[in-house]
Amino acid sequence: MRGDDLERYSRQIMLEELGEAGQERLGRAAVLVVGCGALGSAQLGLLCRAGVGRLRFIDPDRVELGNLHRQLLYDERDVAAGRPKAEAAAAHLAAVNSGVVLEPLVERAGPGNIAGLLAGMDLVLDASDDLRLRYLLNDACVRAGLPWLYGGVDGAGGMLLAVEPGRGPCLRCLWPDPPAPAGPPPVFPPAPVLVGAQQAALALRRLATGEPLPGRLLLLDAWQASWRALQVERDPHCRCCGARRFDFLPGGKVPDAGDG
């Protein structure tokens, strides 16, 4: 490891769980972050600062005034310039840690590009605001055998689940079908920051140790200041990770419920 890296990461290398070997593994790791909103801002900021070697991130939207209360990567200059979030994120992240390879993509993740997005990645972080996209991520990651971390927020509440394909439960073991789509939920700004930070923490742990993450649904109430863990189980009859029917990928048959 280079001398300035030893200095930059000295306080995290001091962690027994990480050490210099763990830090080197982080430096060789590649992560896809799907969405550059509030969850994505928190995740990207932390992963970039912690020295994850390669970050690929995708979002089709531009920075808007209504994003600034919770999306920590952006400021009023990004709004005034109408910058795409992925580009603005890349500019801010490059200033934080020039040693990280950044791959910003100003496009929408979907069935048509998901295979290419996953190529070469070690782990996927969900930071989207679209439940259907999460079912697509679940299908794509289970098929590819890639660990991914679901995260979502609603009001002051939030939740996350680490999916370890073939080991623990997947998204469809818990919720076999997506609910009908709804409009954007209210958001208490600390909720996505906390969820995104916890997703980033588990991603760093997974990448640094190589050890699979436990299949627990973590439930946050940012208003009441509580986290709790619900032990969830794999469904051997799950359509996705059991029967390996990938309904949300191209050629798959998407269930009627929650069409949108």
Binding site: G35, G37, A38, L39, G40, D126, A127, S128, D129, D130, L131, R134, Y150, G151, G152, V153, D154, G157, G158, M159, L171, C173, L174, W175, P176, D177, P178, P179, A180, A182, P184, P185, V187, P192, L217, L219, L230, Q231, V232, E233, D235, H237, A257, G258
Partner: protein
């Protein structure tokens, strides 16, 4: 029979199943888009019909959060 659903107490007929409760709440009985925990334990969707509620059960219904 009294149970607590999402923190609110409800009177239910003896022998009500979890699927029956979901119907009472206006949810499809298969509940494939929600997650249920009873007394802190996760219940698989396929077990909703066979799961009989008991006096004092604490039922929590968890929908996937989609905001980001």
């Amino acid at each position: 029979m009294r149970v607590t659903v999402d923190g609110e107490r409800r009177d239910l007929p003896e022998g009500t199943s979890l699927a029956g409760l979901l119907e009472l709440l206006g949810e499809p009985a298969d509940g494939r888009h929600l997650l249920v925990e009873i007394n802190g334990r996760f219940v698989h969707p396929r077990d909703y019909a066979g799961c009989t509620l008991r006096e004092g059960d604490r039922v929590e219904i968890v929908y996937p959060a989609f905001g980001g």
